[in-house]
Structure formats: C-alpha cells, structure tokens
C-alpha cells in the first residue's frame, strides 16, 4: 500500500430545484428564502462553492471542503435545515477526503527501513512511518486543505482502479504502480497552469475509490486533459470512470437571477 496523507473532508451535493412548488411561492417568500441561502453561503466563504450544472443530473452542485468529518456533518445539516432545502431534490452526492498519494516516498521509506533491519509493522517501523507522514502533512498543508479555486468551471468525476480478472491494479508490484503514477503525473504537470486538480480518496466513504475535481477558466481544457491521460497506460488499462459532472460557478448575484424567476407570471 502506498503511503497517503489526508486533509479536508469533502462533500459534493448535486440537487435539482422542484420547480413546480418553488414557482408557486410568492415573490417575497422566494426572496426571503434566497437571502437565507445566500447569507449562509457567504458565511462559508471559500470553503464552499456553488456551481450551476449542465444537463438533467442537477440544477446546482454545492462543494464543501471542511477540516474534518465532524465539521462536514455540521455543514450538511446546516444545509438540510435551510428553508430552500424544502424545494431541493438531492439527485446524488459524493463523500471523500483530500488525499495525496506518496508513491515516491513510499518506496524509499520502506527500503530504508528494511535496509536498517526494521521489522515491518513493528513499533519502530510504525514510528518511522508516522514521522514521515507528519513531515509530509506539514509540508503539504496548503494542498491538503485547499480553498475552492476562484475560476469559472468545475468538472467532477469519481473513479476506480481496475480489479479485472486479468488486469488488476491491486496485484501489481508497488514499483510498477509507482512508475505508472509518475508518468501519469507528468501529463498532469503539463496542464498545471490551466487546470487546478484536487484528488480525494473515498474508499470506505463512497461507492468509488477516488473523486477528481478539476477547476479551470476554460471548460475545453477538461476534455483535452482527460483525453490525453486516457492514453497513459495507468488510465488506459487501469482506470474505470464514473459519471461526469460539469458546472459553471454561480455567485450570489447569479443565484438570485437564476432563482428569482423574475417577471415570470406564476401559473
């Protein structure tokens, strides 16, 4: 198993507006409900992002980054208790935690310890591993607890590593997986200026093994990046992709304009 360090707890909430009851509200009630929602989002600052979504999967997506799972549950219930939630139909969601895979360090740490004659899973072994993890957590603090990037588009999708009868990621030697991940990272790095990528782990939390968030000013870059990666052996052979969600950032002014349904005669 590669060593990993974990950071923020994440929740993606996709939901539709139940238009038929929302539109039956009078305008002042709609304004009150939207004010409560807007004020709440404002209070959450850069740790929560609202996106207007493309297609029937959702009208909106809320992305929450929280310091831990307890804070994440509080946020979820905060949302569930808002007046607007009565007019929201949750279509799907994703629970995960920011994860940095330390493939490069893992090999070094393990072989170093083995060279020093430290028995796997012994106390000294565990202490050495924990010290490494602590160092990495400190060094990577800002990547482990990121803010929602202030750009226009967001693409989210979950994924698995394949466990086929013949091609099985989990039976490859660590070295081979590390080499494949390194090559994969190289492709990602070429897009560093155009796309901000946040990987989260969801084994034990949700139905796929990882969640991937991409943020960019240009939605076309998502297709280029993912298409190019799809030819990498690690993706070509070992990646299994879940559904894809595409959203465009929705600030409070836009939210208001989208939901006020101004000038629409009620029917």
């Amino acid at each position: 198993m590669p060593l990993t360090v974990e950071g923020a707890a994440l929740l993606h909430q996709m939901f539709r507006i139940t238009w038929c009851s929302w539109r039956d509200l009078n305008e002042s009630t709609r304004r009150e409900i939207l004010e409560e929602f807007s004020t709440t989002l404002e209070g959450m600052g850069n740790s929560t992002g609202l996106f207007s979504m493309y297609g029937h999967k959702a009208d909106f997506m809320l992305v929450h980054f929280r310091k831990d799972f307890e804070a994440l549950s509080e946020t979820e219930w905060h949302i569930r208790k808002l007046r607007i939630w009565k007019y929201c139909e949750p279509t799907t969601s994703y629970v995960s935690v920011v994860e940095l895979g330390l493939y490069e360090s893992t090999g070094k740490v393990y072989s170093g310890l083995l060279n020093d004659g430290v028995a796997p899973h012994s106390e000294p072994w565990k202490e050495a591993i924990n010290a490494t993890l602590d160092r990495q957590r400190t060094a990577m603090a800002s990547r482990l607890h990121p803010e929602i990037p202030p750009v226009k588009y967001c693409c989210f999708y979950p994924m698995d590593r394949r466990r086929g009868e013949d091609k099985n990621w989990y039976t490859l030697p660590l070295e081979e997986r590390a080499a494949l991940m390194h090559e994969h990272g190289m492709v990602g790095r070429r897009y560093a200026g155009e796309v901000k990528q946040i990987i989260s782990g969801s084994i034990g939390f949700d139905d796929w093994e990882w969640g991937v968030d991409l943020f960019s000013e240009d939605a076309l870059v998502f297709k280029k990046l993912i298409y190019e990666m799809r030819f990498d052996p690690v993706s070509a052979i070992y990646a299994q992709f879940g559904p894809f969600y595409l959203g465009i950032r929705c600030n409070q002014e836009r939210l208001s304009s989208l939901l006020h349904v101004c000038g629409v005669v009620r029917s």
Copy 2:
C-alpha cells in the same frame, strides 16, 4: 492522442410532459405558455431544434448548438425559466462539444516535427501543433459550428471506445487507430447524401466519450448506416453503444397541435 479541434457546445434535453398537471390548466393558460415557448424557440433559430420523440424515454427533445459553454448555460437557464418547464420532467440529457478528430493530420504533424528534431512538448512543438489546429479550425469553421439540419428525423446516441481487459482501444498504436478510423469513415461517406452526421466529444462533460447525431429524411437509413458500420472492425471490436433516441422534427405548428390537446374535455 489524436489531435482534435472543437466547435459548438451542445446540449440535448429529453423531457416528458407531466400530463396530469398540464391537462388541468385551462385552455387560455395553455395557449399563453405555448406562445412563450414558441416565441423563445423562434428566437433561437437554427441553433436549436425541437423533436417529438418515440417511446417512453421522452415526449420531446431539445437540441441546442451554442458558440461556447457560457452561452450554453445561458440557454439552459432560459429554458428552465420558461413557464412550460413547470410542466416538464427532464428524463435525461447530454452535454458535449462538436469535435473533429484529425487522425490523418496527427501522424503527419508528429512525424514531421520529430524529423525536424523538435522535442515533444517543447515550446516549438506546442507552437507548431497550435498553428496546425488554428489552420484546421479556420478550414473547418462551418463543420465546427453547424446549424440543426432542416430534415425530418433525428437519431442521437452516445458511445465509448472499448477499454476491455483484452481489447483496448487506448492501447492500440496511433497508426492502427488511424487506419481503422479511415476505413470507418469510408462507410460513412457512402451515406453522405442521405445522412448528415455530427460527432461531439464529451470526455469530461458527460458519461460517455462521444455523442453521435444523425439527421435524415428517412428514418430507415439510420438503421442501415449503423448496422453496416457495426461490421467495421472499429465498431465491431471497439464500440460500446449507449441508449438510442429517435425523434421527428416538431415545428411550431405541430408543437401547438400536440400540446393544445384541443377538444379534449378536462377531467
């Protein structure tokens, strides 16, 4: 990865009418709502098409071609805010972007650059690629930003290239993929006079890799074309097909007649 150029952003919206509430409206309200919808569609001209669909998957399908994803989101919200949306149940949708795969040029450009000693992913490499893409975008402008063809029938389906444990499109050499795509294109060309085909890419945008729109005066031609292609190696071995949607063009007069439910006593 083959080079591609991208054009219009696409949204397919499939929806059912919620007949039980629609029929409870009085006739003048229905007429107002339909007028608003018709006027909106008229304003969208040839960049939006309305189709009456076969079967339970949808009563109607709206197909939008827009210059970019920002304009596409505006259109989607324009539709969501129409009064008729209160009586529509979105059953599915598809988000993609018109894509032309440049398999033929890709090989030439890459080998030319390598022959000239240009290092892959270097600045000169990127510049040369971008220059090629710009030329292609200009040359193919009308195919990248098409109008909805003014014919009777539309067939839409999404598809993937297979990534099986044994048969895997993404691990084939570029030359082999180019040869297979060339042969595939030859079949398509034989139907050029009867079918207008628009391919859109959806990696990063929706759950399949590509969307295919076929337009024709004769619905039977869809079956012939797709059946013939299914024996091509590229489809026989490497294509995975999603659901198929069949629609018949619905102009405003037809829309009115379909939804006015004239002469029906309310119950």
Copy 3:
C-alpha cells in the same frame, strides 16, 4: 452485412394505471374515458393490439404496427392525447421496424456480382442489390406488414448479438453467420403451427438490436421454444437477452371489466 428488407414500424407501449387517481373518478367519468379509449382502439383494428400484462412491469401493453415512422408518431400522439393517458404511467416502450434478414440471398447475390466482375459499392452493384431487395419486398409483403395475430398470449423481448472480447458475432465471416442462422431457423420452423414469430430491427431506434414478438394460444410454448433455441450455438454463444414481457389479449369487453372497477366503493 446481411441484406435485410424492412416493413411496418412498431411501437410497444407498456404502462401502469395510476390507480389512486383513477379510482377517485366517479363512475360516469370513468365510463366516458373508457369509451373514448375503446372507440380509438376499435378504429385502429388489427394494426394495434391491447394486452393485459403479468407482474409489476405494466398493467397493459399496446402494440402498434404502422406503415411507416410518420404514421407511428401520429398514433403515439393520438394515444398521448386520449383522456385515459392522464391516468397512465408509461413504464417502458420499444421502437423498431419489422425486419427480414436475407442471409441466404446475401451470399448468392454477392458472389454472383463478384463473379460477374461488378465492383462492390459501384453503381451497377447498388442497382443489382436494390433490384434484389425490391423483389424480396414484393414477395414478402404480407410478412413485412403483418396484422396482430388474433391469439391469446403475447411474449415480447429485445435482444442483442454478443460483441464480447472473445466471442463476437460481428467479427464472424458472413458464411458462418448464415449457417448459424439457418440452423436457428430450423428450430423455429418446428414450432410454426404453435407460435407466430415477428422479428423487428431496432439498431438506431432503441437500446437493443432486435425485438422479438411471439404470439400463441398457449403461454407454455413460449418457454419451450426459447429454451430449446437457447441451446442452439447462435443463441447459446451469441445472444444477449433483455427483459421479457408476458401479456394476455384484452378485448374491449375485458378492458371495460378490468378498469370499470365495478362495485368497488371509492375510498
């Protein structure tokens, strides 16, 4: 690709009655709605069949055979506009076209043309093929445009030919497919007196490649026929089956008795 000729456009509509609103209607309204439905079905004659279905998948199934897709769309909207549609929940449907596969002729025609030195896909080639198809369409007119057989039970299911990584129908040589289909047809012929079979193609129209309708006075024969065929190599190795629907013919008297819910106190 084997040559095929096409006939009637088909729609299968499966739907449930929304009992809770239907039962809240008073008896005279129910009678009016049923009269409108019955009169409509009567007008459609033998080109439309109504079946009462077994199990939760549907309460009823309507099967429509029409001369082409335009007439089929008209029929579907005719049904959608009936008053009873307000009390119907469409659970699924199937869109297809009667298809006769000409595996036997295909080989002969192709080898004849090649022997005569005619180039594939040349104009003379196309003319010869079209002449063959026209002859077959005339000879098989009654099988291409059948009526709903006036027997008691109907079994409907969609199916695909397998395109597995190893076993792939679409990569077999035409001769092998023709031989397998011939043997398959032999089994069917043994049931000719007991079962009427109608095959329809749905590539490009719906989610499976073919639809199969079986009609018989004895429902047990469906199981015997399909079970026996399942041991044929063409089915054993290359068939993939979708959901199965079993119905019992419902004439107008029966419809009335099923839906009048006579003597039931409303609650």
Copy 4:
C-alpha cells in the same frame, strides 16, 4: 435440451404500503379495506400465501400458485381491483411456472429412441417424448401443483445459468449437465427434512431463467443450504443469482395487527 414438465403458474407480488395515504384513512375505512383483503385471501386458501417482508424491498409479498396462466391473470386482476391496492406500491414481481427438469430421463429416452432407429423430431419421436412427459406429469402431479407450505419463513430468488464467453452452461454436453445437476440434487436432498424447495421456470415469462422458492421453519437454514450449494461446481461456475427476498408468514390476524396501526394518533 433436457425434457421438462410444467405445473402451476406462479406470480410473486412484492409491494409497499403507501403509509402516508393509508394513515390518513379513518379507522373504520381501514377496517373495511382490511376485511375485504382478508376475505379475499381466505377464499384463495393454500394457493396464495402472504408474507411480511424484511427490509425496504417490500412490506409484503403475495405468492400465487394457479392451475394455468389464465387463472393467474384473473387472480392478479382480482388483487388489482381490491380497495387496498390503492394503498399499495408494487415494487417488483416474478412470473414463472413450476418446472421439473427431467435430466435423468432425458438421456435414457433419447438414447433409447436413437437405438430403436427413430429419427429425431419425426412423428414417432414426438409421440414417444409426449408419452414420457404425460407419464411424468401424472407421476409428479402433486409436486407440479403444490400448495404454499404452511411454514414460517420464505426465501425467494431468481437465477440464471451462466453464458459467459468461456464458461457457458448452454454449450456443455447434456451428459455433463445431467451429472452436475445430479450432484447438485444430492446436496438439496440432505436438507429435505428442513427445507421445502419449489423450482419454477421463467424463460419467456420474466427476466431470469428460473425462480427458486425455499420454505422453512428456520430462516438460518436458507443460508446454510445456499452457501453449501454455492461450492457445487454447477453453482460455483454456472449460477448467476438475482436479488434475494426474505419473508415471514403473515396470517390474517397478524395482517390486521400490522396494518390497523391501532392506537396510532393520525398526523
């Protein structure tokens, strides 16, 4: 194909109570509706069983054994017309027919006829087969038309024989299938005193090939029996299992107590 004989037509109906409308009824209406339901079930005697189900898949399951498909349809409509059906949401169902596979006789009959020089599918062949089937139907009449066993627990699940690319039940020789089924039957026989098993065939009737009903006084025996069988080659390699349903018998007194919701204040 192994010879089979068929008996009772079966319908399993799983449904949930729509609690929110059921609880809004006043107590006397609930009592009337339950009396109608109870009286109906009483009239059906041992040919229909009612089970209270575990988990969200259903609150109740009705299992009907009828002499043929016509009687089964009548029963289904009898249920659909009951007042309680307005408060029932059918979640799933299963349509099948009691089937006894005659693997042992099949080999003998076939080889006997071939030894006698009878041509397969000739008239004498068919007559000999039919005579065998008639004898078996008479000999096994009580197993072909069973009553619902009067024990406490019921476990129902549908299943298929595998038709994989490599492991395919339908391409095995009859002798091999007969041998595997014999061994499988041996395991079942060891549980004969504890479990009553009823196998029904559903090819052509529903989405799986067979339905299995197990009845026992002890629910744990279901797990033991199925787990032990799962190591039999015929199950280990060739069985594919659908969803499992577990129920506990619900007599009329229990039904009344479960649905009267006595003493619950309406809200």
Copy 5:
C-alpha cells in the same frame, strides 16, 4: 464449505426525511412525533443504533441487532408503525446475520473425522460437526451477540466473493481459502484497537453475500483499513464491493436538534 456459527439477526435501515411534509407540521406535532421515536429508541438500548448519514443516500440509518429473525421482524414493524415513519422514505436496507467463519477449525475437524474413518454426511459425522459448532457458539457468545459499539463513526458496506470465469473463489480448495483468509485476518488484527469490525452473512437474505460494519472514533481509519486490505490477495482478486455508507452517531439530543428544525419559519 467452511463451518460457520451464526448469532444476532441484523437489519440496516437507510431512510430520508420527506422534508416538504415534515416541515409543514406544526412544532408541537413534530415534538410529539420525535418524543415517540426517541422513547422507542431508548427502549431498544444498545441493540439499536441511530446514525446521521453523509450524502444523498440517506439522512439517517438505523442498525438493529436482534436475537433472531422473529424478533427482527417485530422490530421492523415497530418502526413501521411509528408516527415518524409517515415522514420517512426508506432508500435502502440490508438483512443479514452475525457470522463467524471457522476456517481454521473446519480443516482440523474434517481431517480428524476422515482420519477416524467417519463417512462424510453420516449421522456420526453430523453429530461431531454439531458438537464443534455448539462449542464455538458458546465460546464466542459475546461476539455472536454484540452490542452497537459506543463510538462515533460507522461504515457499512456489503460485499461478495468473486465468481469470475477465471478467478472464482468458490472453486478454490478449502486449504487455499483458509490460508488467504488467515492472512487477511492478520491485517485486520493490526487495527484491532482502532476499529471494531462485525461481519454478517446474507446469502439467502439479501443481494450480497456478506455485510461489513466498521465502528471507530476516527472516520479516516476506515479508509486506511479498507485500502490496506485491498492489496491482500483475497480482496485484490476475490472481493467485489457494494455501496459504502458513512454515518456519525446520533444520540437523542442530536436527533432532536436535527429534526426540530427550530427557529425555521414554515413556508
């Protein structure tokens, strides 16, 4: 088949609150309904746990441990009859029974009996097996009838052993399975202080073969444990995982605060 002993019958009930009708209740009605629910849960003590869930799959999960399936059914109906159930939408559930697999003993018992010349499945064989099982049931009584661990987080997921065409758990020799399970158990043991694991069997009861409950003060430990195990051959090659559910313990005070929706103006 490995010997197993069984203990408590388990039901996991995942459900959402139907917010739109819940919020329309006045505050005193909500308080009454919550008091009834809280009192019921209090009466169930440590044999039932309530968890507030992450994501759209459920707002809450109830986990019930009961002495047998009869008591479990009573509990389920107790919940179904609570006033709050009218405002609950069951989204999924899981039915199983606590199971301890005796891989280590199985080999010893079987070889001992065979050495003593006892015929498999003979009466002496059965008596010896039953004696072994009785001893184990007594020795492991507290593990077979556990209480809900009083810690903060719960992770639940169902799983299968793979029965692929090539990699098939059920065709491995008992010795190989025992060795793989032993190694697997070793990983689990390293987490003993941090995670409490309860395995339940569901063959014959629900759609997967086993359910896994993990309880911990630290949700991140779930990911570490499951990720580490995923590289074990028994998981890497033979495990197939169902959906994952993550919850945080919800005591009565918290329940009240979550559902009172205090201070929220009704709309």
